[in-house]
Point group: C2
Chain length 150, copies 2
DNA sequence: GTATTCTCAACTTAAAAAGTTGACAATATC
DNA sequence: GATATTGTCAACTTTTTAAGTTGAGAATAC
């Protein structure tokens, strides 16, 4: 099994947010509904949505006919935002993070770390891409180009 | 603590390979030497180098004055190769991997997964970058541009 | 006041990562 | 051919992180 960089939790969060985005402006959506539609364990989704709600990116309402809705327009939420929110950084290594910069364990001096220089580059390009796509975007599905390389 | 996508082991592997690259053509380098110079726990490095050796990217020699050396010229090894070798894929999610493609757990159908489309894009750009830099390259260290965003 | 729906800290379980142990195999040297 | 040196490798332990559950509570609606 290949690791996968985005945790299950982050992936759930993204799908939940997409769901809310798709129903933006239509009153609160209940957790159970999202869980079912998005195939997410309901109890776990509880943790995730509460977190998103604490972050202020989602509004919640309790009681009958309560639920969740985006606190901001889906046009103002990028995938980069979501991933940073959930995993703290877009970087491949701690020392290459901008917001959550941290020395890598057991590393040599950052100044002349070749890997770091490269990873900063990767982070920037990734950010550029992920910050350019919004929750409101219908992402164009590439025409399944022969899944050949990489 | 922020996760960091590349495992400690992968980072060690990269540094070990850089070390070998820097000493390419100068006879075998001993494990203990690499461990010390690169600040890697020696016993753990054992595991890593054996693995790299089994992959055929490194040659080993036992006995007195033995050690390790690159099996290929550092110009023929990219960072992409190394990362793929150590972690199986460059992708952020399992379903966006080319070589190690795998369905994401608890996902919806891949065909209309918006996240997937985006992640394929990210993977491609990352690969482009990581496959463009070689172990032989002296990576130009960016002039520490005010570590502001991201 | 009762039913509904979100909240949240504490907990459990499961899995992966990190690192160690120790017996062994190849090579070199004397 | 014995000894010292250096890599090999599977099995194991420990640590950390991820994933998911529990259950008591708080807000709201009717």
């Amino acid at each position: 099994m290949t690791a996968g960089v985005l945790s299950q939790k982050t992936r759930y969060a993204i799908r939940a947010m997409q769901h809310l985005a798709d129903n933006y402006g239509q009153g609160p959506i209940q957790l159970a509904q999202i869980a079912e539609a998005q195939n997410i364990p309901a109890k776990f989704l509880t943790t995730i949505l509460s977190e998103l709600s604490r972050f202020g990116i989602v509004d919640s309402q309790r009681g009958k006919d309560g639920g969740y809705r985006l606190a901001v327009s889906p046009i103002d939420i990028t995938y980069g935002d979501l991933i940073r929110l959930m995993r703290g950084s877009l970087a491949l290594v701690p020392c290459a993070s901008r917001f959550a910069h941290e020395k890598c364990k057991n590393c040599l001096e950052e100044e002349n770390c070749r890997t770091r220089a490269l990873m900063l580059e990767v982070r920037d390009r990734t950010a550029e891409l992920l910050d350019g796509v919004r929750l409101s975007d219908r992402i164009e599905l590439v025409p399944a180009q022969a899944d050949s390389e990489n």
